[in-house]
Amino acid sequence: MTTQTVLAAAGGVSGGEQVTFWILAPLALIGAIGMVAARNAVHSALWLVLTMLCLGVFYVLQAGPFIGMVQIIVYTGAIMMLFLFVLMLVGRDASDSLIETLRGQRAAAILLGLGFAGLVGGGVYRAMEGTTAAGLTQANAEGNVQGIARLLFTKYVFAFELTSALLITAAVGAMVLAHVERRKQDKMDQIATMKARFRPGNYPGPKPGPGVFATSSSVATPARLPDGRLSERSTPDILPVRELTAQETSLKGTEK
């Protein structure tokens, strides 16, 4: 890997680099297409992970080992993992439906996408026209990490600090919006909880289970107290207390 790095820095393309590129570039493309085409949100995220991993290896190949590893650790390891976290919380059956809600949306999206790609490609082409690659030999002279650190803490220190301030502000803002601080008096410690439990008027024992002595094991069926009354404490608050009809308690025919 060291020799490849040196070669890439000098502007040459070694055989190993070419082989790696031609293996990983199609994979990266497949990942990108799969991400758009996948029906399931988690599969889509996994395709994106594949693309990001390939990009990370490309960075390493092009004499930027630090940025390559950071790409894998930060983007693939942390940010995509948070995406997955949210997607899993949403539920595994959250597949997209293929019914278009907006008429002509797909055609418009393809058209706009092509236009955008053309604009970006054209811009990059015009910008790179006539420039010759200088290579990273000079920048990596005292080591890749040291070179990045020098630039980051001298020339670009203001932009760097500003970006981090922006991110911290965003994070703190999200926390302020989402976090509910309870007052100190409202927090119940174990002693207070126990005192409340044994206060007069509160029954300290466990609640009767729903469906006990009832015709059904449904959560909606209240328990019967020894004197025959129905106990409201046995059912969740959102469910009304009722007795199921005979038709409701009969088997639904779902068993095999």
Partner: protein, 450 residues
């Protein structure tokens, strides 16, 4: 032979020069090391935990039960491989593989020893090293989370999903603490390559105390003690080992993310857990315990750090760390999830940040040798430790007697039995006492023996 002693520490330029067969040998060695470490590690853990719980542990298959894991592995291969109906088939299949691959790959940048001669080739005992090798380790461990999370999600049932979600939150949180404690190592060593970090821990300075020369330790476990402690705690969290084994907490989640797995896929998850435990021990050894370098009394012998001997010191340190992992499991109860997260974010992280600040402040003081810094840091740190240990805790609550508490209860409270309740002896007890033979009490009390 003189050159042998001069060129012990491999540098980055020594890598990438091996012929293909040597690279293959090294890779196969690292892989075999991982698998063998798992086989012996499971046996070691069961024996040690057995010893701690005063029972023999596995002792039937092979000498001292050494082949027990092999027998278990063979049995597992012949078990039925169950694929749940609700599972996402492709992801369910790939998840254990991701786990294992990431755990084994991390071993490729761990230095096992110095430069040695293999079939006439002068080469370092390490598969490869890059200028960002420690970041490769971090990348491997962060990709390893995918195996667990995807395994939990793809199983298509509740407990595995909860285990997977827990593990993703847990490992991301502890990776932050881990990364920050490595920062201190980078700052002190001035490099991110593993072989460079081992080399940087080698140059010990001489401390002159009371007229005798004592080699001051170069290990970062001593120089950067807070980082070492935090790093090790974070590795326990990162490898999902007790007391941080929340993703597979059997009393809450059955077996967590691996509930639906069976047969060889389950074996792969077990393999990855043990391989990552060994890998993390190896990484801790490399970063903080001087890697393959011999500890102090052995260094008096000149050849301790050359040739193949260092591999022995390295394995010794790794086994010691694995023992600590097992010891933790045998000693500590599992943390509750909120305690665990609070510990990571509100304790480990701030301590780490403050420590890095202190360290960079120390480093910016020029004209001050390592010894002076060691003493200047060591004494206040010791005093601080003592003060925190002896600092009085919360103000003691005013003592209220039980009788007062009972009297203070509001009217109509739940009835309590009287506090001075005398329980009459059961008639059955009396009968048992009467039927027993009278004890021999003639010798005891008067002879004065205790």
């Amino acid at each position: 032979m003189n050159a042998v002693y001069l060129a012990q520490d491999p540098t980055l330029a020594d890598f990438g020069r091996d012929p293909w067969w040597l690279v293959l040998i090294k890779i196969v060695f690292a892989f075999v090391f991982a698998v063998l470490a798992t086989l012996l590690g499971v046996w070691f853990e069961r024996r040690v935990v057995g010893y701690m719980q005063v029972r023999p542990g596995p002792n039937q298959v092979g000498p001292l039960g050494l082949l027990q894991t092999l027998a278990d592995g063979l049995k597992m291969a012949f078990k039925e491989d169950i694929l749940p109906r609700a599972a996402d088939k492709v992801v369910f299949f790939f998840a254990p593989t991701i786990s294992v691959i990431c755990a084994v790959t991390a071993l490729s940048v761990v230095p096992f020893g110095p430069m040695v001669s293999i079939f006439g080739h002068w080469t370092p005992l390490q598969v490869t090293d890059v200028s960002v090798a420690v970041l490769v380790l971090l990348a491997c461990s962060s990709m390893g989370i995918y195996g667990i999370v995807l395994g939990g999600w793809a199983s298509g049932s509740t407990y595995p999903l909860l285990g997977g979600l827990r593990s993703s939150a847990q490992m991301i949180s502890y990776e932050v603490a881990m990364g920050l404690s490595i920062v201190a190592v980078f700052m002190t060593a001035g490099t991110m390559s593993t072989s460079g970090i081992v080399a940087a821990q080698g140059d010990a300075t001489q401390l002159t105390l009371f007229g005798t020369d004592i080699p001051a330790p170069g290990w970062y476990a001593i120089l950067l003690l807070p980082s070492f402690v935090i790093f090790f705690i974070a590795t326990v969290g990162e490898t999902n080992r007790a007391p941080f084994d929340l993703p597979e907490a059997e009393s809450e989640l059955v077996a967590g993310f691996m509930t639906e797995y069976s047969s060889l896929k389950f074996a792969l998850f077990m393999l990855s857990e043990y391989v990552s435990m060994v890998t993390m021990s190896a990484v801790t050894t490399t970063l903080f315990l001087g890697g393959w370098r011999a500890p102090w009394p052995i260094t008096l012998w000149e050849g301790a750090n050359s040739g193949w001997w260092p591999m022995l010191w390295f394995f010794g340190k790794v086994i010691a760390l694995v023992f600590v992992f097992v010891w933790l499991r045998g000693t500590l109860p599992r943390l509750r999830y909120d305690q665990f997260m609070r510990f990571g974010w509100k304790v480990l992280l701030p301590i780490n940040l403050v420590w890095i600040l202190v360290l960079s402040g120390l480093r910016s003081i020029e004209d001050w040798d390592t010894r002076g810094k060691l003493i200047a840091v060591g004494i206040p740190a010791g005093v601080l430790l003592l003060v925190t240990l002896l600092w009085p805790g919360r103000k003691p609550r005013p003592k209220v007697s039980v009788q007062e508490q009972v009297n203070n209860r509001p009217h109509g409270s739940f009835p309590l039995p009287p506090l001075d309740l005398q329980i009459p002896p059961s008639p059955r007890t009396r009968r048992v006492v009467a039927e027993r033979e009278p004890a021999n009490v003639t010798a005891g009390s008067e002879s004065g023996e205790v």
